[in-house]
């Protein structure tokens, strides 16, 4: 299954909040929608889920218009909520049946997910009597109880403690392995790096970066090096002795991040440093973290 989003535009009143969002994703992969608060991630997801209608643009699955009601979708909205006064399994079964499961399938799936998430003992209890952490697990169970083809998670890690975050990571990885199509939004980069092959970075309603995460990192690292001369004044030394070959663009702990100028090669730079008796403790290609890319692309412009 291939989901393709093309040129989504959305306005609220006079203000356009999405300026043509496009991306695509296939089953068995996870796509991370990244962006700062208010960038347009949730609006994009809500358009996917048909909570809002886009002003223009198209969403297709395998070339045909995407109708959410024709698919089993596991949706975890940003605004979490269930019935606090209803029994845990009762409401899971209700939601599963609303999404197309038979009663017996709903019963089986709800029991399976409650067990998988370690909250089966609360199946008959009212939701409001559970701890916050267990309520989060029930919320995750409701997302997956219908055995979805598509899993759409809006800020799934928000508010989770480390144990529940780990459980969620495991579950998402399971879903990817089972060939599900997973889309999720987040601004917690470490999770995205763990299981996303593709990302799109949205800033102020526009895609500012998209593609394979590995490729993006390589491209961002191209012509950039990390150097550590082991001295306090290494930035001055590099500027003084190799200023015509590179330009310092930042720091990462003790390392200096530098961009090679046209005509510069790693061999030439290294030779230059060694001739001046500057022996690097570290010298190599720079591979940026997703957080660094994020801050650079979506950070406040000076």
């Amino acid at each position: 299954m291939r989901l393709e989003v093309k040129g989504l535009r959305k306005s609220f009143g006079e203000k356009e909040v999405l300026h043509g969002i496009s991306f695509s994703i296939e089953s068995g992969k996870a796509l991370g929608l990244l962006g700062r608060n208010g960038a347009g991630k949730t609006t994009t997801i809500r358009i996917l889920m048909d909570v809002f209608r886009a002003n223009s643009g198209s969403i297709t699955v395998d070339g045909r218009p995407f109708e959410p009601k024709n698919f089993r979708i596991g949706y975890l909205p940003e605004e979490r909520g269930l019935y606090p006064k209803k029994g845990v399994q009762e409401q899971l079964m209700y939601l599963a049946q609303l999404r197309g499961c038979s009663r017996s399938e709903a019963k089986h799936n709800s029991a399976r997910w409650l067990e998988r998430l370690g909250v089966e003992e609360y199946a008959q209890r009212k939701l409001e009597t559970l701890s916050k952490g267990n309520q989060q697990k029930v919320q995750l169970a409701q997302t997956l109880v219908c055995d979805p083809d598509l899993v759409i998670l809006d800020e799934p890690f928000s508010g989770l403690d480390p144990v529940n975050s780990q459980i969620l990571k495991d579950v998402i990885q399971e879903q990817i392995r089972e060939g599900k199509l997973v889309i999720f939004s987040s601004h917690q980069m470490s999770y995205v790096e763990e299981f996303c092959e593709d990302i799109i970075l949205i800033n102020r309603g526009e895609i500012v970066l998209s593609g394979s995460l590995g490729q993006i990192k390589r491209e961002y690292g191209r012509n950039r090096l990390v150097v550590d001369l082991g001295t306090e004044d290494q930035e001055r030394l590099l500027s003084d002795y190799a200023g015509d070959l590179l330009q310092i663009v930042g720091r990462r702990k003790k390392q200096v991040i530098a961009e090679m100028k046209p005509g510069c090669t790693k061999e030439r730079l290294l030779r230059e440093l060694l001739e001046r008796k500057l022996i690097p403790e570290e010298f190599g290609n720079y591979e940026p973290s997703l957080t660094e890319i994020f801050v650079e692309k979506a950070g406040d412009q000076p």
Binding site: R46, P77, Y83, L98
Partner: protein
């Protein structure tokens, strides 16, 4: 359709698992049975032969103790006066007005009479109650005594004259249309039943919609199921729960009357002997009218996100129903009037209006059909509009959204 039935079942379960709902139903059933059984038993005890002992014992006690100051000895015989008043009275004869007043003040007498002559007297009482009829009874008894004196003076037998006054022509009633006097009781009861159903369930339906917004379950719901299924499921569940509750409560009363009806001596036959056409009108128009208002309440529930705001936004609909209710109460006394005729066609008032016309007035079949079609159309339209507003209101948290704003936004879409 499948999802609609799932929603309907879930919402019905909410009612039937709600302890408050079950308790209210049980209490009202007991109350309905109690209202039929207890007064019946009391009346039975009052008239039955087994209670003869109590009655004779009671008859030895006086109904009233009355102080009497007969200034000019106008009353010839106190026993005759008691008999004329139709009561057992213990008379305290006083020698002056003051003594009679003191007897009343100190509670020795229930009331006092200061008689100048048979046509002039003063009634003395400590506190006069709303239902005090002693003075009227006394006046009639004195007047009878006066008539008797005058007639005797004229040489006419007063007893003969009294019996002439008692003669009533024998009559039979042949009602060609409807007996409004007889139908009043059950029509009034049916209108009240609908009123209470609406007051009770209208708020419950609105609360059920709003609580899904306040607990943030709504986004999961509207992305899982069509909003028509959601709103229709909720409203129809409320209607079915109301109908079941209504059948149980009225059924208990009717059942109790079947068993204990004899002790009422047929007094309530009028109330429970509701003709089939009236039942059908009540079922069809009552249910459709109820659904119309229920959809309105559901719609209003979608415009707010906090349950405490419901009473504020539901006020206009509540007022609309109260107006309909007052028109109905007025129409009970004028079932063929222009007001009730008009009300029987307006969807928001026709559930009561048509019921009154069918039960108590005269109505043509075409009028019933036209009114019913109007109500069905309005009901379906309001249901669809409610679903649209429900969908629109999904992510409208915070302050209540104005109905006109919601309509405008829906039209823009």
């Amino acid at each position: 359709m499948r999802t609609f039935l799932t929603v309907l079942k879930f919402e019905l379960n909410n009612y039937f698992k709600n302890k408050g709902f079950l308790l209210t139903t049980a209490v009202l059933m007991v109350l309905a049975v109690g209202i039929i059984v207890v007064p019946g038993i009391i009346m039975d005890r009052g008239t039955g032969p087994s209670s003869g002992g109590t009655k004779s014992e009671k008859s030895e006690e006086a109904d009233y103790t009355l102080a009497l100051f007969d200034k000019n000895a106008s009353v010839p015989d106190l026993d005759a006066l008691s008999a004329a008043m139709g009561m057992k009275i213990e008379w305290t004869e006083c020698t002056d007005a003051r003594q009679a007043e003191n007897a009343v003040e100190e509670g020795e007498a229930d009331a006092g009479f200061l008689v100048d002559d048979l046509l002039h007297y003063t009634y003395v009482v400590e506190n006069r109650s709303m239902y005090d009829s002693l003075q009227d009874t006394f006046s009639q008894a004195l007047a009878a005594m006066y008539r008797s004196q005058v007639l005797t003076g004229e040489g006419i037998d007063p007893a003969e004259m009294e019996s002439l006054y008692q003669i009533l022509p024998e009559s039979e009633t042949q009602i060609l249309g409807k007996d409004s006097a007889g139908n009043y009781a059950y029509t009034y009861i049916l209108i009240m039943v609908q009123y209470f159903l609406l007051i009770f369930y209208g708020q419950m339906i609105a609360t059920s919609v709003t609580s899904e917004k306040s607990n943030r379950a709504i986004e999961i719901l509207v992305t899982s199921v069509d909003s028509n299924s959601l709103i229709f499921g909720k409203v129809l569940a409320g209607a079915i729960a109301g109908l079941i509750q209504c059948v149980l409560i009225l059924g208990s009363a009717v059942g109790a009357y079947q068993i204990f009806g004899e002790s009422w001596g047929g007094l309530l036959d009028n109330v429970f002997d509701i003709p089939i056409p009236v039942w059908i009108t009540f079922a069809v128009f009552g249910m459709l009218g109820y659904l119309l208002y229920a959809f309105c309440f559901g719609m209003l529930g979608a415009l707010v996100s906090k349950t405490e705001d419901i009473s504020k936004v539901s006020m206009p609909v509540m007022m609309l129903y109260i107006i309909s209710f007052f028109i109905a109460i007025f129409g009970l006394n004028d079932s063929n009037g222009i007001l009730i005729r008009a009300a029987s066609f307006i969807p928001f008032t026709s559930s009561n209006g048509m019921l009154i016309r069918v039960a108590m007035g005269s109505v043509e079949l075409w009028e019933i059909i036209v009114s019913c079609l109007l109500l069905v159309t309005f009901c379906a339209g309001t249901g669809v509009l409610a679903a649209k507003i429900f969908r629109f209101g999904t992510l409208m948290y915070g302050n209540p959204v104005k109905f006109t704003t919601a309509l405008k936004k829906i039209r823009e879409k």
